[in-house]
Symmetry: C2
Subunit: 126 residues, 2 copies
DNA sequence: TCAATCTATATGACACGTCATTCAATGACA
DNA sequence: TGTCATTGAATGACGTGTCATATAGATTGA
């Protein structure tokens, strides 16, 4: 039997879905159009940009994002191919890699971040 | 410059992302394991199940879901292939189709809905 | 009534994410 | 030290979503 609570849960869930998808789509389109990178690429850039320490980070990145380890790896592939980020080997654990923004990456990030925040405000803050 | 408000927005956004992804993944896995359908398939089933009127619905479905029209079409393909739903032509507009649950679809939906609601409660209500 | 246009759905090419696996490096412990 | 398990990351096969387009039916207006 569908209880009232069930219906409320479903409503709540649909509303989360809609706001998530609408916001994500809006940001994705804008970043794609203006900076030629997708939302996931930006989010990785953003995480790298806010990591001031130079700890080995591919792993850490995976923990701060809902993306899979392999998704992160592929996003980083694209960022690296685009010359925005570079993979550096870790001296203390040679399995690990950490990421560094290139100058181009830093520049693009700081422009894109403005757009990103503005769209978040528009869609979340309303 | 990163203002405090910016940081709050980003935090809020990440928290939405996480709760969305965690919940979606949990439901998806459970439905996949127990009923062999994905979350999107279930959501279409759910929409069809709650449409009591027999209006032409493919179109209407598209409006109640963040999915693309073409995504809906493919999800329905799979549901039809699985024998859970059937496409019916519309007499008043032969371009349109409406969907009907098969008996198997109705049965699966009512079981899966219990699971779905329970997981929503667990993840959203907590 | 016949174009021109619009609308509902389907489809194919493509991009991207996931899973399972692989590979190399590390750690643990006998 | 040598084996065995574990860990960080990359990769290939695959499924599914998106975009652009195709198709068929509807609508409009001359």
């Amino acid at each position: 039997m569908a209880t009232t609570q069930d219906r409320q849960l479903v409503e709540q869930w649909r509303s989360i879905q809609n706001s998530y998808f609408r916001t994500a789509a809006a940001i994705d389109r804008a970043l794609e159009a203006k900076f030629d990178i997708g939302l996931n690429e930006f989010e990785i850039l953003d995480l790298v940009a806010e990591s001031v320490d130079s700890a080995c980070r591919m792993k850490a990145l995976g923990e701060r994002t809902p993306m899979t380890q392999s998704a992160v790896s592929k996003v980083v592939d694209r960022l690296e191919k685009a010359g925005l980020v570079s993979r550096q080997t870790c001296s203390d654990d040679r399995r690990s890699l950490y990421l560094e923004l290139t100058d181009a990456g830093r520049a693009l990030h700081s422009d894109a971040a403005v757009e990103h925040r503005a769209l978040l405000k528009e869609n979340l803050g309303e």
